[in-house]
C-alpha cells in the first residue's frame, strides 16, 4: 500500500512538473540509448527507473531541447560523465549523467564514422572507420586517442580497416574488426608504444569484447562463438560454440555469459560450457539490445521492431518473469545502469 501511494505521488509530481524536465533519480536508473533513424538526427536517451518502474521517453531531448545527434552508436561513462559516440554526426558529445545536461562536443575531420569507445584513466580510445574508398571499402580506419581532461584529440593509431568494438585491458587495446562481414578479426594494440601486437583471424562476426571474473578476455561473435584470447601470447586460447547465431550484445554476470539466441534468452557457464535457457519465446521484431542489471541480474531487451519505428524496452526478472514493456525511442541499442 505504501509503495502504491509512493508510486501515485511520484506520478502526480511528474504529471505536475511544469516543463517535462526529466528527473534523474539517485539510483535504480537504466538509461536506454536509442540510435534513432539514420540521417534523421533523432538519437535519444530514455530513463527507466527500476524502483518505481517509471519510464521517461526522450529524457535527454526534454532536458536539452533537442536530440543528441544522428545515430548514437555507443555511450561510455567516466566519473558520472557520459561520452556519446555519434556515428552519423561524426562527433563525440559529453553530458552529465546526474542531470543529462550537455557538457561539450568534440568534432574533427579525423572523426569520420566513429564507432565505439573505451576509457582508461583520463584517456579515451575511439574506433573510427574513416572515409569510404572505392566500392564502399575502408582504407583509412584508425583509433583516435582523446585526452578527457582537455577533451581534445591527442594522437591517432592507424589500424587495419573496419575497427569496431574496443576494450582496454592491462595496457592493451582489444579491437574487433567486422565491417558487415568483410573481416573476422581481432586487433591487439600495445597502448604505451601505440603498436599493433597482433591481428588475429577469429570466428565469423567478431563484435563485443568483455572480461570475465577470472580476468580473461573474450570476444562475442554473431556466428555464435565466444573466443577467449590469451592475454600473454596474444593468441586464441579457446572457442566456445553456442550452436547458431546470437545477438552479439552479450552480458557476463556471476560466472555466466547471458545472450539472446533464436527467440530465447540463454546462459552459458564459461568453465563448463553447457547452455541453459532462461526465458523461452521472447519474440522480437528486430533484436537490438540485451543486458543484465549488475545489481540484481534482471534481464533487459531492446526490440528495434522496425526501422523508422519506435522500439520496445522489455524488462524481465533474473528468473525470467515478465515485469514490464515500454515504448522506447527508435532502435534501442544500449542500456546503462546507474
Amino acid at each position: 500500500m505504501k509503495k502504491q501511494l509512493l508510486l501515485f505521488l511520484s506520478i502526480i509530481t511528474f504529471a505536475c512538473s511544469e516543463n517535462d524536465e526529466p528527473q534523474v533519480q539517485s539510483s535504480g536508473n537504466v538509461f536506454i540509448i536509442n540510435e534513432g533513424s539514420f540521417g534523421a538526427s533523432n538519437a535519444s536517451i530514455d530513463i527507466y527507473n527500476t524502483t518505481d518502474t517509471t519510464y521517461q521517453l526522450a529524457a535527454y531531448k526534454n532536458t536539452n531541447g533537442d536530440f543528441i545527434g544522428d545515430v548514437i552508436q555507443d555511450v561510455e561513462i567516466d566519473n558520472n560523465i557520459a561520452y556519446a559516440v555519434l556515428n552519423g554526426s561524426n562527433r563525440v558529445v559529453s553530458f552529465s549523467l546526474a542531470d543529462l545536461k550537455t557538457i561539450d562536443a568534440l568534432q574533427a575531420s579525423v572523426i569520420d564514422k566513429p564507432r565505439y569507445m573505451t576509457i582508461d584513466g583520463n584517456k579515451a580510445y575511439l574506433t573510427v572507420w574513416g572515409p569510404y574508398g572505392e566500392n564502399y571499402s575502408l582504407t583509412d580506419s584508425k583509433i583516435v586517442v582523446i585526452d578527457l581532461t582537455t577533451f581534445e584529440i591527442e594522437s591517432t593509431i592507424a589500424t587495419e580497416p573496419g575497427v569496431e568494438q574496443i576494450l582496454e585491458h592491462s595496457g592493451k587495446l582489444y579491437v574487433s574488426r567486422n565491417y558487415y562481414g568483410a573481416y573476422n578479426n581481432l586487433t591487439i594494440i600495445d597502448i604505451a608504444s601505440e603498436t599493433i601486437l597482433a591481428d588475429l583471424r577469429i570466428a565469423t562476426g567478431p563484435d563485443e569484447i568483455f572480461v570475465d571474473n577470472q580476468n580473461r578476455v573474450w570476444v562475442a561473435c554473431s556466428s555464435g562463438a565466444l573466443v577467449e584470447i590469451d592475454t600473454n601470447t596474444d593468441n586464441v586460447s579457446q572457442t566456445i560454440n553456442l550452436n547458431g547465431e546470437i545477438l552479439s550484445d552479450v552480458e557476463f554476470f556471476e560466472g555466466k555469459v547471458y545472450y539472446y539466441q533464436g527467440n530465447a534468452v540463454k546462459a552459458v557457464d564459461l568453465n563448463s560450457p553447457k547452455d541453459e535457457t532462461i526465458i523461452d519465446n521472447v519474440e522480437l521484431g528486430l533484436p537490438y539490445a540485451f543486458s543484465i542489471n549488475p545489481d540484481n541480474g534482471d534481464i533487459y531487451l531492446g526490440d528495434g521492431v522496425a526501422y523508422g519505428s519506435e522500439g520496445e524496452f522489455i524488462h524481465y526478472t533474473s528468473d525470467g518473469e515478465f515485469v514490464a514493456v515500454f515504448t522506447s525511442g527508435i532502435l534501442p541499442t544500449q542500456f546503462i545502469f546507474r
Binding site: 534523421a40 538526427s41 531531448k61 562527433r91 574508398g133 564502399y136 521492431v305 519505428s309
Partner: protein, 630 residues
C-alpha cells in the same frame, strides 16, 4: 497474350470505323483530350486543379517543390534546401503519386518516386494537379494523385522570347530563357535554365550557416511540331536536365563528403491524325535517368533506360458518346549495384477502354477500365473509373455543380521492391487503392467579382500497402503488410475582383487529411497516422495588380507531422507558417523587375526530420519579354 490484345484493339477499331451511322453521331473530336492538362475531360467526376497563373509565375524560377507546397493537398518533405524532395499527395506516400510529362510517366523507376527538387517549374508550360485516384488515366502510382506536366505547341502565327535573371540570398543565381516561334504549319519552342547557389543559408534560431549544400543545375526543353496536312501532325520533344548538388548534412552535423548528380534525358515523338471518323494519337518516348551518388571514393550509379509507347484511338459510337481505347507498353532496363547481377529488366503493358459523354438530364460521365500487365509478376487489379458531373443549378453567372467519382487505382512495386539483392520480392502484389469522392463546385459572378468555391470529400482505402520490414537475417524485405484508410476534406475558394486598373485575386485553401492504418501486423500501429502526412494544411495567396504594380502575398500553414510509426510526440515535427511577399514593377518596354522575400518572418521549420531549412531570404528578378504576331 500481348499480341492478342493488340489484335482485339485494332479489330474493334476497324469495326467502329466501318459503321455508317458514325458520321451522323460524330462529336467535335477536336475537343478530345490530348495532353494531361485535359484531364478534366477524362476525369469528369474528379477535381482537377489548374493552378493560378500568378502562383506559377511567383515560383517560376524555382523547382516544383515550393510550388507544390503552396497547394493544400500536397505536402513535400525535403532533406534540406533544394535537396531531395518527395511528395505526399492527399495523405499517401511518395511513390503513390504519378508524375506525367506529355503523356509519359517520368517517375524514377528504381524508387518509384520523383525528386521534385530536380524538376524546374519554368520548363513546363502547363502543370495540372489531379488529386485522388485515377490510375486509368495516370497509370501506376496514381493512388494519391497525379502531377501532369505538359508542353503543348500552338499553330498560330506567333513569336515570343523571354529572358529572366535573378540574384538571391546565399549566392543564388537563376537564369532562364525561352523562345517560341510558330506558323500555321510549324511550331518550335525552347525553354532553357541555369541555376547555381552556394546555399550556405543562415539557420534560424541557431545563428549557424549551413555547410555543404551548394547546387548547380541546367537543362533545356525543346519541342518541334509540324503539320503534315491539315489533319495530321508530328511533334518531337526533348528535355535534358542536369542537376548537381552537395548532400546537405543533418542539423547535428555529419558527412561533408557526399554529392549527387542527376541526369535525365526525356524524348518523345507523337503523331496525331484527326479524321472525320476518329482520332488517332500515337507516341513513343525514350527515357534515360541517371543518378550518380558519391561518398568519398565510393560511388553508387543507378541508371534506368526506358522505352514507352502508346497508341490511342478515339471515336464516337453514338450521339454524345466518345469511345477511346489505349494500348501502352513500357520496357524498362535498369543498372543498379544493389540488384542481382547489378541489373533488372521489366516489361509493362496496359490496355484501357473508356466511354465518356453526356447522359440524360445533362449528366456528364466518364467510365474507364484499365488492365495492367507486368512481366513475371502477379496480376494487377482491374482498374475501373466512373465519374459523373451534374449541374444542379445555373442562373446567369451562378453555377452549382456536383461531382462524384469512384475508382480502383494501383501502384506497381518499384524495381527496388522487386529486384534488390537478397531482399526484393518479384512476387510482391501491386498496391491497390479504392477511392470514392464527392465534390461540389459553386461558381458565381456579380459584375466585376467572380468567386469559385469547391468542397470535396473523399475516402481512399489502400490495401496491400508495401513496407520494408526487418527480417531475422538482419536485413529488410518489402512485404504487402498494411491497409490504410485516408479520409479527407478539401475546401477551396478563389475570388477575383476587378475595378478599372485594380485587379485582386484571393485564393484560400484548406485540406484535412486523416491518413490512418486500418490493418497492420503490430497492433500498436493500428489507428496511427501515416508518417509525414500533416492532418491540416492551409494556404492563402493574394495577388494585387494596380497599373504596372503587383503585390503578392503567400502564406502556407503546415500542421504537425508524425515521423515515426507509433506517432510518439517526441519525434513529431511541429506545425509552422511560412510567409512570402513579392513586389513587381512592369516597364512599358517589356522589362519587369521583381523582388521577393521568402520566409519573411524567419520561421524555423523542418519538413524532413533533422534537416535545416532557410530562414528569411531575398530574390531580385529582371525579366525581358518580347512578343510579335508577325
Amino acid at each position: 497474350m500481348r499480341v492478342f490484345l493488340i489484335i482485339i484493339l485494332f479489330a474493334t477499331a476497324n469495326l467502329a470505323l466501318g459503321q455508317d451511322q458514325m458520321q451522323d453521331s460524330l462529336l467535335r473530336l477536336d475537343e478530345v483530350a490530348v495532353y494531361g492538362s485535359n484531364a478534366q475531360l477524362n476525369l469528369v467526376g474528379s477535381r482537377v486543379i489548374v493552378p493560378d497563373e500568378n502562383l506559377v509565375a511567383f515560383n517560376k524560377q524555382a523547382s516544383l517543390t515550393g510550388f507544390l507546397n503552396s497547394q493544400s493537398s500536397t505536402y513535400l518533405k525535403s532533406y534540406g534546401n533544394n535537396m531531395l524532395s518527395t511528395i505526399s499527395f492527399r495523405g499517401t506516400n511518395a511513390s503513390q503519386t504519378s508524375v506525367l510529362w506529355n503523356n509519359f510517366s517520368i517517375n524514377n523507376y528504381t524508387l518509384g518516386q520523383t525528386d521534385f527538387s530536380t524538376v524546374p517549374l519554368s520548363v513546363t508550360d502547363e502543370v495540372t494537379l489531379i488529386p485522388g485516384g485515377g490510375s486509368s488515366f495516370g497509370g501506376s502510382g496514381a493512388i494519391g494523385g497525379t502531377v501532369a506536366l505538359a508542353n503543348p505547341l500552338s499553330y498560330r502565327k506567333n513569336m515570343t522570347a523571354e529572358i529572366q535573371q535573378s540574384v538571391g540570398s546565399f549566392n543564388t543565381y537563376r537564369t532562364l530563357g525561352s523562345f517560341e516561334k510558330s506558323t500555321e504549319k510549324l511550331s518550335y519552342k525552347i525553354n532553357a535554365y541555369y541555376n547555381v547557389s552556394e546555399n550556405d543559408f543562415l539557420i534560424p534560431e541557431r545563428n549557424l550557416r549551413q555547410e555543404h549544400a551548394a547546387y548547380q543545375s541546367y537543362g533545356a526543353l525543346t519541342a518541334l511540331g509540324y503539320k503534315l496536312t491539315d489533319d495530321q501532325k508530328l511533334e518531337f520533344s526533348l528535355w535534358y536536365n542536369d542537376n548537381y548538388r552537395e548532400i546537405q548534412p543533418t542539423l547535428s552535423g555529419g558527412s561533408n563528403n557526399s554529392d549527387q548528380q542527376d541526369e535525365n534525358l526525356r524524348t518523345s515523338i507523337q503523331y496525331q491524325l484527326q479524321s472525320r471518323f476518329f482520332q488517332l494519337h500515337s507516341g513513343i518516348g525514350y527515357f534515360n535517368d541517371k543518378l550518380d551518388y558519391k561518398d568519398g571514393l565510393a560511388r553508387s550509379l543507378y541508371i534506368v533506360n526506358r522505352i514507352e509507347g502508346f497508341s490511342k484511338i478515339t471515336t464516337s459510337l453514338a450521339k454524345n458518346h466518345i469511345v477511346e481505347a489505349e494500348l501502352r507498353g513500357n520496357v524498362i532496363s535498369a543498372q543498379n549495384p544493389g540488384y542481382e547481377q547489378e541489373q533488372a529488366f521489366e516489361e509493362r503493358y496496359s490496355i484501357m477502354v473508356q466511354s465518356r459523354g453526356e447522359l440524360f438530364q445533362k449528366i456528364n460521365y466518364a467510365a474507364h477500365i484499365k488492365q495492367q500487365y507486368i512481366s513475371d509478376s502477379p496480376e494487377s487489379p482491374l482498374s475501373p473509373y466512373l465519374g459523373l458531373a451534374y449541374q444542379l443549378f445555373q442562373r446567369s453567372r451562378h453555377k452549382l455543380k456536383l461531382k462524384v467519382s469512384s475508382s480502383v487505382n494501383y501502384r506497381i512495386p518499384t524495381l527496388n521492391d522487386r529486384f534488390w539483392q537478397n531482399a526484393g520480392d518479384p512476387e510482391l502484389k501491386t498496391e491497390r487503392g479504392f477511392n470514392n469522392e464527392l465534390g461540389l463546385e459553386l461558381n458565381s459572378g456579380i459584375s466585376n467579382l467572380q468567386n469559385n468555391f469547391s468542397v470535396t470529400t473523399y475516402r481512399n482505402l489502400i490495401s496491400d500497402y508495401i513496407q520494408w520490414k526487418p527480417t531475422n537475417m538482419g536485413n529488410s524485405r518489402p512485404e504487402n503488410v498494411k491497409t490504410v484508410e485516408i479520409l479527407g476534406l478539401e475546401l477551396n475558394n478563389q475570388t477575383s475582383f476587378r475595378v478599372n486598373e485594380l485587379k485582386l485575386g484571393l485564393d484560400l485553401a484548406y485540406s484535412f487529411t486523416n491518413s490512418t492504418v486500418l490493418e497492420a501486423e503490430r497492433e500498436i500501429e493500428i489507428g496511427k497516422h501515416l508518417v509525414y502526412v500533416p492532418s491540416h494544411k492551409a494556404n492563402v495567396s493574394l495577388f494585387t495588380t494596380y497599373k504596372v504594380w503587383r503585390l503578392s502575398y503567400l502564406a502556407n500553414y503546415t500542421g504537425k507531422v508524425y515521423t515515426s510509426q507509433v506517432n510518439t510526440e517526441v519525434y513529431a515535427l511541429p506545425q509552422f507558417i511560412l510567409h512570402d511577399v513579392g513586389f513587381q514593377y512592369a516597364l512599358p518596354s517589356g522589362i519587369t523587375c521583381g523582388f521577393r522575400i521568402r520566409n519573411a518572418l524567419n520561421t524555423n521549420y523542418q519538413t524532413y526530420a533533422g534537416y535545416a531549412m532557410p530562414g528569411r531570404n531575398y530574390e531580385l528578378t529582371l525579366n525581358y519579354n518580347f512578343k510579335s504576331n508577325n
